[in-house]
C-alpha cells in the first residue's frame, strides 16, 4: 500500500517554474509566474459587472412576480402607457450615445492623446442634462397616470408600473451620482480620474438604458 520515498527538496538557483496545481491562468510564454503586478488589475471593471448582475437579478425577480401576479387574480387591467415614455426612451438612448463619446474623449485625455479636458467635460455635461431630462420625464409620466386615476394601489398593472419605473429611476439617479463623481474627479487639477472608473460608470449608464428598453417592452406588452 504505502511506501516511504526519501524526500527530495531542491533549492534551485533561479526562480522556479510553477509547482503544484496551477491551471495556467495568465501563464506567460516562458512559464514565468503570472505577473499580476505588471498589468495592474482594475477592480472597477469586474465590480461593475458584478453589480449589474445583481441589479439584473432584482428586475428578473420582479418580472417573475409580474407573471405570477398576472395569473393569480382576475383583476388584470391593461393600462394605457403615457406617450411621454417613448420620448424618455429616446432621451435615455441619446444620453448613452453622448456618454460613449464622452468616455472616448476621457480615455483620450487620460492617455494624453491630445484631447482637451474641456471637450470631455462638455459631453459629460450633455449626458448629465439628458439624464436629468429622463428623470423629469419619468416624473411627468407618473403625473399623467395620476391624472387618469391610476395610483400605486389602483390595480396590479399600475402597481407594477410604479414599482418597475420607480426602481429603475432610483438606479438612474444613482448613475447620475456616478456621473457627477466622474466629473468631479475629471475637474481636479491633479489627474485622478482613472480610465476604469470612467468605463465602469459608462457601462452602468448604458445598462440603465438597456434595462429601460427591456422594462418599456415589458410594460407595453404585459401591463
Amino acid at each position: 500500500m504505502a511506501t516511504t520515498l526519501p524526500p527530495t527538496i531542491t533549492t534551485p538557483e533561479k526562480l522556479p517554474t510553477y509547482a503544484g496545481g496551477g491551471n495556467g491562468i495568465g501563464r506567460l510564454p516562458g512559464g514565468e509566474l503570472r505577473a499580476l503586478a505588471d498589468r495592474p488589475p482594475e477592480p472597477a471593471r469586474t465590480g461593475i459587472w458584478v453589480a449589474l448582475a445583481g441589479i439584473a437579478m432584482m428586475f428578473a425577480a420582479l418580472t417573475s412576480a409580474l407573471v405570477v401576479r398576472h395569473g393569480s387574480g382576475n383583476d388584470w387591467q391593461n393600462i394605457l402607457i403615457p406617450r411621454i415614455l417613448y420620448w424618455n426612451t429616446a432621451v435615455l438612448i441619446l444620453s448613452s450615445v453622448t456618454l460613449e463619446v464622452a468616455r472616448r474623449r476621457v480615455a483620450g485625455y487620460i492617455r494624453r492623446e491630445g484631447v482637451r479636458r474641456a471637450q470631455a467635460m462638455q459631453w459629460l455635461l450633455v449626458t448629465l442634462a439628458l439624464g436629468l431630462a429622463f428623470v423629469a420625464g419619468q416624473y411627468l409620466a407618473w403625473l399623467q397616470l395620476r391624472a387618469e386615476g391610476l395610483y400605486l394601489p389602483t390595480n396590479p398593472n399600475s402597481s407594477f408600473f410604479y414599482v418597475l419605473t420607480g426602481l429603475h429611476v432610483i438606479h438612474v439617479i444613482g448613475g447620475l451620482g456616478g456621473l457627477l463623481r466622474v466629473m468631479y474627479l475629471l475637474s481636479s487639477p491633479v489627474p485622478v480620474l482613472r480610465k476604469s472608473t470612467m468605463d465602469a460608470t459608462s457601462y452602468y449608464w448604458h445598462f440603465m438604458g438597456v434595462l429601460w428598453v427591456y422594462l418599456l417592452l415589458l410594460v407595453c406588452f404585459a401591463l
Binding site: M1, A2, T3, T4, L5, P6, P7, T8, I9, T10, T11, P12, L15, P16, A19, G20, G21, G22, N23, I25, G26, L33, R34, A35, L36, A37, P40, P41, E42, P43, A44, T46, G47, V50, A51, A53, G54, I55, M57, M58, A60, A61, L62, S64, A65, V68, R69, S72, G73, N74, D75, W76, L152, P153, N155, P156, S159, V163, L167, R194
Partner: protein, 588 residues
Amino acid sequence: MSEAAVHHGPPQTFLRKYVFSVDHKVIGLQYYGLALVAVFIGMVLSWLMRFHLVWPNAAIPGLQLLSKNGAPSGVMTPEYYLSLLTMHGTLMVFFVLTNAPFAAFGNYFLPIQIGAEDMAFPRFNMMSFWTTMLAFVVLISAFFVPDGPPISGWTAYAPLSAVGKDAGPGLDMGQNLWGLSIAIFCVASLLGSLNFIATTLDLRAKGMTLMRMPLCTWAWFITACISLLAFAVLLPACLLLVLDRVAGTSFFIPAGLQISDHMQPHSGGSPLLWQHLFWFFGHPEVYIAILPAMGIVSHILINSMRKPLLSYKVVIGSMMTIGFLSYMVWGHHMFLSGMNPFSALVFSFPTLVITIPATILTLIWLGSLYGSRLQITSASLFALGFISMFVSGGVSGFFLAQPSIDIYLHATYFVVGHFHLVMGVAAIFGVFAGTYFWFPKMTGHMMNETLGKVHFWLSFVGAYCIFMPFHYLGLAGNVRRYSSFVDDFLQPLLPVHKFITISAFIMGAAQLIFLFNLAYSRFWGPKAPDNPWDCTSLEWTMPSPPPWNNFGDVHPVVYHDPYQYGVEGAKDDFIMQTSPEQVKTMVR
C-alpha cells in the same frame, strides 16, 4: 502589487481606526462583534422560548420590563412567544449565520489569503458594515414599539405578514420594521458580495492563481456569488411586502379575506408568490450559511491533519455544484403549499441530487483523515465536530426531500431539528473552529486551550442532547411554532421537551465560557507567535496581529498551493506558500 487598489494611508484618528475604518481587518472584527451580540440575543430568546414551552404559566422575572403587553407580570403571552420566535430566527439566520462565517472571517482573511493589501473597494466595505449595523438597529427597535416584534416567523408568510394589525399583535409597526430591516440588510449584503468577488478575481498577488487559493477563500468566493443573486431577489420581495402593508397594493393578498371582522381592502394577490420569492432567496441563503463553514473546516482540518485533502479540485467542484443546485430546489419548502403537485416532484429531484456533492465532501473529509497525523486542538475538535453535525443534520434532509414523507413531517419538529443541526450547530461549529484557529492571528494572543476544550465538550454533547430529540418529536407529529402544547397527542412528549430545555440551558451556559475566553485572552492571553499552528497560508507569514497595510512593502510571491503538508526531511513538515522550495509530497 496591485496599483489599482485604493491605497489608503494609515488611520490616524480613533474614529478612523476603530469606528469608520476602511481596513478590511477592522471591518471583519466589527462584523464578528455584531454577530456576537446578535447570537447572544438570539440565544437568550431561545432560552425564553424553551422555558415557556415547558413552564407556560410560570413568570419569567423581568420579562415584563421588556414588554408590558407581551409578558404581563412576567408570564409570556402566546403572541409574545411568536414575537420572540420571529426575532430569534431573523437574528440568527441573517445577523449571525450570514455575518460570522462569511462577512466576518471572509472580510478579515480573504484579502490576506490572496496576498492583497485590502478589499477592492474599501469604502464600499465600510458602508457595507455600517448598513448592516443600521439593519440591526432597525430590527431590534421592533422590540420597543408598543405592539412588539412581528409574529409571522422569520419566513413572514403572506397574508399574515401583509395585512397589518388586524391579523394580530406585532403585525403593525413591528412587521414594518422587520421588512425595512431586511431590505437594508439585502443592500449591505450585495455591497459585501461585490467586494468579495471583485477582490478575489482581481487582487491576487503574484503567483496566486485561483487554484492556489485556500479552500476557505474559495468558499467565501462561491458564497459571495450565491449571495449576490439571492439577496437581489429578497430585496424586491421585501419591498412588495411593505407596499402591500402601507400602500394598499395587493401583490400577496387575495380578495375576500375577513380578519377580525374587517373585510380586507385588497384583492387579486397571491400568497404563493411571496413563498416563491422568499424561498428562491431562502434556500440559497442556507447554503450561504454553510459553505463558508465548510471551507473554514477544510482549511483547519488539513492543517490539523498535517496532510492535504484527497483532492483540492473535487472539494471546489463540490462546493460549486452545491451553490449551483441551491437555486433549483426552493420548492421543497412548498410541497404542501398548494402549488401544483407535479412541481413537488420536479423540485424533489434536485433536492435529492444535492446530496451527492454533500456526500462527496463528507467522504473526502473522512477519507482524508485516513493515514493522517491528526493534532487535537480546540479548533480541530470543532472542525471534526462539524463533520459529525453535518452528517447528522444532512441525513434528516433526505427524509424531507421526499414529498410523500414531507406530508407527514412538514411543519413538525423534525424540520426544526434538521435545520438547527446543519445551521445552528454545524455552521456555528465552523465559526468556533475559525475563532480558535484565527484568534491568535487577529489579536496576537492565544486563547486558553483548556477552556476551549471544555467549551467544545459541553457544546458537542449539549447540541446533540438538544437537537437529536427534535427528530423524535417530529416523528411523533409534534407541530412546530406552537407557543404551548395543549393537544392531547402532545402530552406524552412533554418530558422530552423538558430534557431539551434543560440541555439548552446547560449548553447556553457553556457559551459563557467561550465569551469569557474571548474577552480574557484578548487582553491577558499568552502572546501568540506568528505561526502557532504551523500553517501554510499567507496570513501566517505576517505578524500577529497584522499591520494596518497587511504585507507592507514586502509584496508576497506565491509558489505553491496552500496544502504542502507532509514534507519530511525539511525543518518542519510543511512548506509555506511563499517559500520557493520545491518538494515532492510524502503522502503515499
